[in-house]
Structure formats: C-alpha cells, structure tokens
C-alpha cells in the first residue's frame, strides 16, 4: 500500500485500484476542533480536485478535494457522530471516504510522504 499527498493536505492510501482518502494531521491541526463532517453519497463520481467532502471547525467550513478522480464506494460514517476523530486520528481512523480510482496515472502528480514532509516544512 502506498500513500500520496496533495498540496491541499489530503492523503490517499492506495491498495490496488481503490484508495482511502483523508486529511493530514498537519491540516487537522490547522483546522482546529472539527465539529462536523459532510460526506459524499456512495456512488458519486468525482474528478481529480473536485470537492468530495466538507470539514467544519468551530470557526469555518473547508472543502476536502478528491486527490484523484473516481467513484465513491464507501464513507466513514463514524465521523457523522464523532467528527473529533479527524483531530484524534487524521491519518488513520479519521479517514473520509474510499474510492475506486478511475485513472491510476493521476497518482503520479501527487507527493510521496517524504516530498509532503518537505512541502509542509516550507509552509
């Protein structure tokens, strides 16, 4: 399984032709306490960079973008009742959705873990 990151701080863990999407601990920290997460409907087709979910802190709402295009096949329903999971475990239990990746070549434009770390250090 490989992990890729976007400049908007989403991650996608890829296993075969499916990917699990979440936001990085860096992003979760920047947002502050997450109080609400809006998840997409299962079966929705999203393009690379499309809004796939919404995450809201006390102060503001932010979009979560699809790192690559594909079809939403599962969402993390646990976040509906426990949105704080995003803060507690952004890189694991706080995942947002699972998708069937339409075009694996879109992963090539994303950062690997080392590149993402360098990217965050520069912010």
């Amino acid at each position: 399984m490989s992990v890729y990151f976007t400049e908007d701080h989403e991650w996608i863990k890829v296993d075969g032709d499916t990917g699990i999407v979440g936001i990085s601990p860096y992003a979760a920290k920047q947002l502050g306490d997450v109080v609400y997460v809006e998840l997409p409907e299962i079966g929705r087709e999203v393009g690379k960079g499309d809004e796939a979910a919404v995450v809201e802190s006390v102060k503001a709402a932010s979009e979560v973008y699809a790192p690559v295009g594909g079809e939403v096949i599962e969402v993390n329903e646990k976040l509906e009742d426990a949105p704080e999971t995003v803060n507690a475990s952004a890189d694991d239990e706080g995942w947002f959705l699972k998708m069937k990746i339409a075009d694996a070549s879109e992963l090539e434009s994303l950062m690997d873990e080392a590149a993402y770390k360098t990217y965050c250090d520069g912010l």
Partner: protein, 379 residues
C-alpha cells in the same frame, strides 16, 4: 495596505503562541494553542481574559461642568435614555443615522468617580471607531469636549464564573458591583483602573480600562492564576453568539434598525416616540408600530451541520424569507447555533424553517435566544 496596528499586549500574544489575524486594522489573536473550543469552554467554566484594546474608548463632557448638558448632547445621537444614568451606571445603545440604520453599537457609562460624575465614557467597536469619533465631532454642539483615549488606555475583559473571586483578590470592592455598573478603583496601590461589571460573553465578569503602561502588568497578575487563560477572537465570537448578542458588521449595520435587530429593550419607554429628538427616532417609532418589518431571531439548525453567515433561510414552501447573519458551532450548546433575519410572520419561537446549506435544504427552527443562559450578577 497600511501596516497593522498593535495593542500593548501584542508581544504577550506572540509569547503565548497566539495565531494572529488582521482584525479592524489590528493584528489580533484569533486563538491560542488551546484552540477555540477549549478557550470557549474554559471561559464558561472558569475565567477567560480577552485583549479588547482595539476597541475605541472616549470621554464626553460639557464645558459648563454639568452632566445634564453632556447627556442631552449625546441623547441626540442614541436612542437610550442618558440623562437618567446614575453615577457609575452603564447602558448599551447604538449610534443611528437619520434613517434609523445602525452606525455602531456601544456602551455608555456615566463615570462614578467623585469630581468626574459629569463625564460620559464610551466604548465603541474597533472597526467603526474612526467613523464614530468623526460622527461625534460633527454632531456634538459647541461646549462639548470629546476626549479620545486610544493613546492612553488599553481595555481587557475578564469573563467567566471565576472572575469575581479572582478580581476581588486585588480589590474587594468589585465583589458587590452589579451588572452594568462601574467603579474607578486601584487594583494595586499604584494602578487605578476603570472597572465595569459587563462583557460580551453572557457570563459574569468585568471589563477593565487601564493605562497603556499598566496593561501588561495587570494581564500578568491575572494570568498568574491557574483559572485564567487568554482567549482569542474566535472564542469571543462563539461566546457572544451563544449569548445571543449582536456583532456589528454581521448582525447589525446601517441596513438594520434597532427594532429589527431585537434591541427594543435597549430603548427606554419615553425614547420610543417619533419626536424623542434623536437621529433615527422616526424610524424607531414606525418600526415599533409596523408589524411587517424583518426581525433578528435565534435559529436552531437540526442535526449537526453548522449554517454560516449568508446562508439563505426559506419557509417550508421554498420561498426565501431571510438570511443567517451569524452562525457556527456552539461549544456550550453542543451543536450548531445561528441568528438571522426573517420576515415578521416567521419570528415566533418554534416556527419551522429551512436553511440552504451547500445547495441542500436543512431543517431548522426559530428559537428564543440566548443559546447559553446569561449569568450576569444582578445582586
């Protein structure tokens, strides 16, 4: 863009690790490392300390040395009864334009300190203060002095249930003050402060006007106590929203009259007629009589999704009936809370409405405010 102004506590905010944002021309702390949620809850449970030095402070007094002359002059610009203020008493009011639109909302105090009881002390919003001082300079008659104190005075607020025990350690006189009164007293043998039992969080607490050179020392004195944490503008906003208090530039502005904003209570009985003699009095009187105007109401979204400012409000048939003006998550309420304007016939508590959040209608209802009970000390 011109350089942001800094309050005298700017270095303190930086040292505490605050996240700073531009606000009304100042570089202000929006949150500290604790985060908005915990800061909010800490204020309701213990005590929060806020730097509100960006707000405008000024004094108004008459050359003839009488309170009556100054009070009558200010009464031309605000709906509140000023002449009946007792020494030390505070009233909330608004500057209105000729059409009755709100130019700013403000706190007006008649000083209680011997030899100064003829003076009025005003605290106005940071974002409006330049215009407010110009407004005063334009409309105060000859013989009235307007003394702007931005160059000499800072302002901090200590809010929350522990505030009284804490501040009374420095001067026990603060204990018996009731809500919306003030005292000029020393908090150390050499530090005289203007202490008001007031605030904008819905909690008991104080606002303390203190000399610029003393504000850092006073802040450190208060922060030395375990129950006190610095609180940023983020939690200040969620606290005032839960308390059902208007924020200028969001819930109220020149397009809104005090009656529409639900501020009827701030206009004393004999000031409600069209001939009360202040700017906008005709609009206030006609809004009181007219049942068709919009009203600011509390709105409780169902479910967990917050409805933010500018969210469209519809009736159950899908007709637009208004807009959210403040909305977010209420940490004490434990869910989303909002306020907004709706057409008059939808103002009754319990009225079902819908909110259009990201294109989708969501159920909500009109509710009575506040969302968190006020805990003012009234003696």
């Amino acid at each position: 863009m011109s350089e942001l102004l800094k309050t005298k506590l700017h270095a303190k905010h930086a040292a505490l690790g605050a996240k700073m944002v531009p606000f009304a021309g100042y570089d202000m702390p929006v949150q500290y490392p604790m985060g908005v949620m915990k800061e909010h809850l800490h204020t309701r449970e213990k005590a929060g300390l806020f730097d509100v030095s960006h707000m405008g402070q000024c004094f108004i007094f008459a050359d003839d040395g009488t309170f009556e002359t100054a009070a009558k002059a200010l009464e031309k610009l605000v709906p509140a009864d000023i002449q009946s203020l007792k020494p030390g008493q505070i009233r909330y009011s608004q500057f209105l334009n000729d059409e009755g639109g709100i130019l700013d909302d403000l706190m007006i105090t008649r000083l209680g300190f011997e030899g100064h009881t003829h003076k009025l002390y005003l605290v106005v919003n940071a974002g409006c203060k330049a215009d407010d001082f110009m407004h005063l300079a334009t409309y105060m008659p000859p013989g009235i002095t307007i003394d702007v104190a931005d160059d000499t005075l800072s302002l901090i607020a200590l809010q929350g249930p522990k505030a009284v025990d804490l501040l009374s350690q420095f001067n026990p006189a603060v204990k018996d003050m009731v809500f919306m009164t003030s005292l000029d007293i020393p908090l150390t043998p050499t530090m005289w402060c203007h202490v008001s039992r007031s605030g904008y969080t819905g909690e008991d607490g104080y606002e303390i006007s203190v000399k610029h050179e003393d504000v850092a020392e006073l802040t450190n004195m208060l922060l030395a106590h375990d129950d006190v944490e610095m609180i940023g503008l983020g939690a200040r906003d969620s606290l005032r929203l839960e308390a059902g208090l208007c924020l200028y530039g969001h819930d109220i502005d020149t397009s809104v009259s005090p009656i529409e904003a639900g501020l009827f209570w701030s206009i004393q009985k004999h000031r409600r007629s069209a001939d009360a003699g202040y700017k906008g009095a005709a609009r206030v009187a006609s809004d009181i009589a007219d049942k068709t105007t919009k009203r600011l109401v509390g709105i409780q979204p169902e479910g967990r999704a917050p409805a933010r400012e500018h969210t469209e409000i519809q009736d159950l048939d899908g007709n637009t009936i208004g807009e959210i003006t403040s909305g977010g998550f209420g940490p004490t309420a434990g869910g989303p809370v909002a306020m907004g304007f709706v057409a008059r016939k939808f103002t009754k508590a319990g009225t079902p409405i819908q909110l259009i959040v990201r294109g989708k209608p969501r159920a909500a209802k009109v509710v009575k405010m506040p969302f968190a009970p006020h805990r003012y000390y009234r003696g």
